[in-house]
Amino acid sequence: MLTLECPYCGVKAEETELQPGGEAHLKRYGPGSTDEEFDGYMFSRKNPKGVHFERWRHAYGCGKWFLAARCTATLEVFGTYPAQTSEPPAELQAKIKAKRPNWEGYK
C-alpha cells in the first residue's frame, strides 16, 4: 500500500487515491517511425528490478499526472515530480545514486 506525495497539491496520497500509469518519460513514436521503434514505445517497457520511473495520477485529488522514482524491489520512493519533463530532475538522480551506488543511472 504505497503513499506518494502529489507534487502539485502536496497531499500525501495513498494508493487508493491514485491511478498508476506505467513507465515514465516515454518518447512517443508516430507515423514514420520504424516497427522496432514503435514496438519499443508501446510494448517493450522498462521493467527493472530496482530503480524505476513511473507515472501516477492523483485521480481522487487534483487529477494531475505526476512522476515517481521508486525501487521495485523494496518499494522505497526516492521522490515525485511533475510530469512535464522528459527526464528525471538532476538532483533526484543524484539522490538515487547516493542511495543506490550500483544504479547505472537514467538511460
Binding site: 497539491c9 497531499v11 487508493t16 481522487y60 485529488g61
Partner: protein
C-alpha cells in the same frame, strides 16, 4: 414553478451525527492561469473573495472559492446565481485562455453535523482528519467514489460528490453515522 430539484431532495438521517443532503448549490468550474491578474479579478467578481491558496477554500457568506488543482478552481454561489456568475467569470476572463463550466447540476452536496461528525468521515475517507487545516478543502474518495469536503462550521462538514452517486453517498453516510457506531 421550481423545476430544479436536487438529487435526493434534502433527505436526512440522524445517527450519532446528523447527515443530510443539502439541496442545490451553484457550482462553477474555472480553469485557467491561477497566477494571472484576470483570474484574481474574476474570482473577486464572482465571490467577493481572494483567490484561494492551494488546497484551500475561502468562504464569504453563501459564496466561496476553492482551489481544486494548479489550474482549476471551484466557485460556489447560491444555485440561482450560477448563470450570472458564469457570465461574470466569462467576462472577466475574456481574452485569457480559460474554461468556465457550470457544474451546479452535476453535483450533490451533503452536510455532516455533530460533535462526532469527523468520525463519519474517518470511516469513509483515507484522510487524517486531525491534520485537516483551517480552511482546507480535501479532495479524496469516500469509500468508492470521488468526493471533496471541508469544515464549513464548527462541528459541521460539507461534502460534495457527483450527483449520480448521491444515493450511494447518502447510504455511506447514513451507515457510518448509525447509532452504536461511535468510535469511542
Amino acid at each position: 414553478m421550481s423545476k430544479a430539484v436536487s438529487a435526493l431532495e434534502g433527505v436526512s438521517h440522524k445517527g450519532f451525527a446528523e447527515v443530510a443532503e443539502a439541496g442545490l448549490r451553484g457550482m462553477i468550474t474555472v480553469r485557467g492561469d491561477l497566477a494571472s491578474g484576470a483570474m484574481k479579478k474574476a474570482v473577486k467578481a464572482a465571490t467577493g473573495t481572494a483567490l484561494p491558496a492551494p488546497r484551500r477554500i475561502v468562504i464569504d457568506g453563501d459564496k466561496a472559492a476553492a482551489w481544486m488543482s494548479p489550474d482549476e478552481l471551484l466557485i460556489l454561489v447560491p444555485y440561482e446565481a450560477a448563470q450570472d456568475t458564469v457570465a461574470a467569470l466569462e467576462k472577466a476572463l475574456a481574452g485569457e485562455h480559460h474554461l468556465v463550466a457550470d457544474v451546479s447540476d452535476a453535483r450533490a452536496v451533503f452536510t455532516i453535523k455533530g460533535a462526532r461528525a469527523d468520525q463519519v468521515l474517518t470511516k469513509l475517507c483515507p484522510v487524517d482528519m486531525a491534520t485537516l487545516a483551517e480552511g482546507e478543502i480535501r479532495r479524496t474518495r469516500a469509500a468508492q467514489v470521488a468526493a471533496a469536503f471541508w469544515k464549513s462550521e464548527a462541528e459541521t462538514f460539507t461534502l460534495v460528490s457527483f450527483r449520480s452517486v448521491a444515493g450511494y453517498v447518502m447510504g455511506l453516510l447514513e451507515t457510518a453515522a448509525r447509532a452504536g457506531g461511535e468510535i469511542a
